[in-house]
C-alpha cells in the first residue's frame, strides 16, 4: 500500500513537471544534430517507406476540374529573384533561358526554352499544399520530367534528381544561399511530375517560378522548386548545402514531404 502510494506520487510529480514546464519540455529538439531531434526525425524514413509501400510509384494525386479553379495560385517563398543573371533573362522574356541536365547522366543536356516547350506536354489541375497548412488549386502545363531524364539517360547508380534554382531566400556570411531541392527517381518518373512553364492557361508568372518550376504532386509545396536552371543527377547529398538534400531540409524540415 505505501509502495503503491509512493508510485502514485512519483507518477503525479512527473506528470505535473511535464505540464508545468509546459512547452519548453522539448525545446531541446530545436537543435539540429541533437540526440532528441534525431529520435523524432527517425520516423521520417518510416513515413517515406510506408507511403511508398502503399502508394507504389504511380498512385496519382487527385486532379480537379476547371470549375475548381476559383482563385489565382498563391505565391510563396521567393516571388521575384534579384540575381543579375535572372534579371537579364526575365528582361528578355526568358528567350535566352536554357535548362541544363548534368551529373550522373550519359548524355548531359542543354535545352533551350523553346526545346523544352516543344517536348510532349502534360496539363493537370492539381492542389498545391503548403507545409504551412493552406491549399490552392491551379492548372499546370509542362513537360513530364521523366521524358527529360530519358533523354539524358541517368546512370544506374543515380538515385536523386537535384534542382538548382536562381532564387536565394537568404544571404549568409559566405554570400547568398541559392534554393535547391531534390526528389527520388520514383517521383522523378511519376507521370504527374512535370517541369511547368504554364499556369492557369497562361505563361508561368515570375511570382510562381518562371521560366520553369517543378510540380511533384504527391509532396508539399516546398519540394516544388521554382526558377530551376539545372537538374543534377546524384547518388548522394554529400557536397550539397548541409548534406540533407534540400534548402528546407538543411533548415530542419523533412526531406520527404509526402505528409
Amino acid at each position: 500500500m505505501t509502495l503503491d502510494r509512493r508510485r502514485f506520487l512519483r507518477a503525479g510529480l512527473l506528470g505535473a513537471t511535464a505540464v508545468l514546464s509546459g512547452c519548453k519540455v522539448l525545446d531541446g529538439a530545436n537543435v539540429q544534430g541533437s540526440v532528441t531531434r534525431g529520435v523524432f526525425e527517425a520516423v521520417s524514413p518510416l513515413t517515406y517507406r510506408a507511403q511508398r509501400l502503399l502508394g507504389g510509384g504511380h498512385s496519382l494525386a487527385p486532379e480537379y476540374t476547371d470549375a475548381d479553379i476559383r482563385q489565382g495560385q498563391r505565391p510563396n517563398g521567393s516571388t521575384d529573384p534579384d540575381g543579375a543573371e535572372y534579371r537579364a533573362l526575365a528582361a528578355a522574356g526568358f528567350e535566352d533561358y536554357v535548362l541544363r541536365v548534368t551529373g550522373m547522366v550519359e548524355q548531359p543536356l542543354v535545352l533551350t526554352y523553346a526545346e523544352v516547350q516543344a517536348m510532349p506536354a502534360r496539363t493537370q489541375i492539381t492542389r498545391h499544399d503548403c507545409v504551412e497548412g493552406w491549399s490552392c488549386i491551379a492548372k499546370w502545363t509542362g513537360v513530364p520530367l521523366g521524358l527529360v531524364l530519358d533523354r539524358a539517360r541517368p546512370f544506374p547508380e543515380a538515385r536523386f534528381a537535384v534542382f538548382h534554382c536562381y532564387d536565394a531566400i537568404e544571404r549568409g556570411l559566405s554570400g547568398e544561399v541559392r534554393y535547391y531541392e531534390s526528389i527520388d527517381l520514383i517521383d522523378a518518373h511519376h507521370p504527374q511530375t512535370i517541369l511547368a512553364y504554364g499556369m492557369n492557361g497562361a505563361a508561368l508568372p515570375i511570382a510562381n517560378g518562371a521560366p520553369l518550376r517543378l510540380r511533384v504532386e504527391r509532396q508539399l509545396g516546398y519540394k516544388m522548386a521554382k526558377y530551376v536552371h539545372t537538374i543534377e543527377l546524384v547518388d548522394s547529398f554529400a557536397g550539397l548545402g548541409f548534406g540533407r538534400g534540400s534548402y528546407w531540409a538543411d533548415r530542419g524540415y523533412e526531406w520527404y514531404a509526402g505528409i
Binding site: V43, Q51, Q71, C130, G133, W134, I137, I259
Partner: protein, 274 residues
C-alpha cells in the same frame, strides 16, 4: 462519503486493469499531450480553418481565423468564428509582444518552429497509431474490446446512471458503467480513428493512395478543420476525465491505472449492478 456512495472503499481490491491497458493508457496520454501542443504549433503557421479542398484567399471559405490587426496605436488579437469577430488580445492572436495565434505556453516547442513541431507531431502520431494497433488486436483477442461496448442492459440503465453522475453518486464496480463505456468507446473507436484519418487526409501522398477518403471527408481543408474540431472534443474528454477521477476518488482511480488494483464497493444486497 463512504455511506452515500453505497459502501465506497469497503469492498475488496480487485485486479481491474491489465498491464496492456495500463501501459497503452499512459503511452496514449503522453502522445496526445505532445500531439496536441505540437498540433497548435503547426496550426500557428497558418491559423485559419477552411471548408472544402482549398483555402480561400480571393474568396471567403474560412470557419475560424485567429490573427492580429492594428487598431489605433495598439495591435489587437482577434478570433473570427464564422461572421463573429472577438477581441482576444492577450490570449489568442497577440500575447504581449508576441504575435501568434496560440500562445507559446500552448505550443511545442515554445518558440515558433513549424519544422520542429512537425517532426515531433509525426513521431507521436506513429507512437499513437502503433500502440493503438497493438492494443486493438490484443484487446480483441482477450475480449477487453467487448467490455467497452455498451450492452442493451447498459443503455437501459443510462437514465439512472446519468442521474447518479449528476448527483456525484459513483458506483465502483468490476466493469465500466455505461457513461464510462460511451466515453471510452467514443475516444477509442470514434475520436482517435477520426484524428488518424483526418490527419492522413492532409498528406498529399496519402491522398494519392486513398483519394476516396478525401472525398468522404469533404476535401483537404475540411479534413484539417475536422482534425482541429476532434482535437477540441478530445480536450473536452480530458477535462471531464480529470473531473470524474477527482470526484470518484482519485487515489483509487489512479491506483487502478498505475498498478491495476481497484477497490470496488461492497456488494449490495439488492444485487445492484455497479
Amino acid at each position: 462519503m463512504a455511506q452515500r456512495n453505497g459502501g465506497y472503499g469497503s469492498g475488496p481490491l480487485i485486479y481491474r486493469q491489465t498491464l496492456l491497458t495500463r501501459a497503452t493508457h499512459w503511452v496514449w496520454a503522453v502522445s496526445l499531450f505532445f500531439l496536441m501542443l505540437t498540433g497548435l504549433q503547426i496550426f500557428n503557421a497558418y491559423p485559419s480553418l477552411h471548408l472544402g479542398n482549398e483555402s480561400g484567399f480571393e474568396y471567403d471559405n474560412a470557419l475560424l481565423e485567429i490573427g492580429a490587426r492594428q487598431v489605433g496605436d495598439a495591435v489587437q488579437g482577434y478570433t473570427r468564428i464564422g461572421p463573429w469577430v472577438f477581441d482576444t488580445t492577450g490570449v489568442l492572436g497577440v500575447q504581449g509582444d508576441a504575435v501568434q495565434a496560440f500562445p507559446a505556453a500552448l505550443t511545442i516547442p515554445s518558440n515558433q518552429s513549424l519544422a520542429t513541431g512537425r517532426i515531433i507531431h509525426f513521431f507521436f502520431a506513429w507512437v499513437l497509431v502503433g500502440t493503438l494497433a497493438v492494443w486493438a488486436v490484443a484487446s480483441a483477442i482477450s475480449g477487453h474490446l467487448r467490455q467497452l461496448v455498451p450492452t442493451g442492459r447498459d443503455l437501459a440503465a443510462l437514465p439512472r446512471d446519468l442521474a447518479d453522475h449528476a448527483r456525484l453518486r459513483f458506483h465502483h464496480g468490476r466493469g465500466y458503467n455505461v457513461l464510462q463505456k460511451l466515453a471510452y468507446a467514443g475516444v477509442l473507436f470514434v475520436a482517435l480513428p477520426l484524428m488518424i484519418l483526418t490527419g492522413l487526409s492532409m498528406s498529399p501522398s496519402f491522398n494519392a493512395i486513398a483519394p476516396w477518403l478525401l472525398e468522404v471527408l469533404g476535401g483537404r481543408q475540411t479534413a484539417r478543420t475536422l482534425h482541429f474540431v476532434v482535437m477540441l472534443a478530445l480536450v473536452g474528454f480530458f477535462i471531464v476525465h480529470m473531473l470524474m477521477i477527482v470526484a470518484a476518488g482519485p487515489l483509487n482511480e489512479l491506483r487502478s491505472i498505475v498498478t491495476g488494483w481497484y477497490r470496488v464497493d461492497a456488494e449490495k444486497r439488492d444485487g445492484h449492478d455497479a
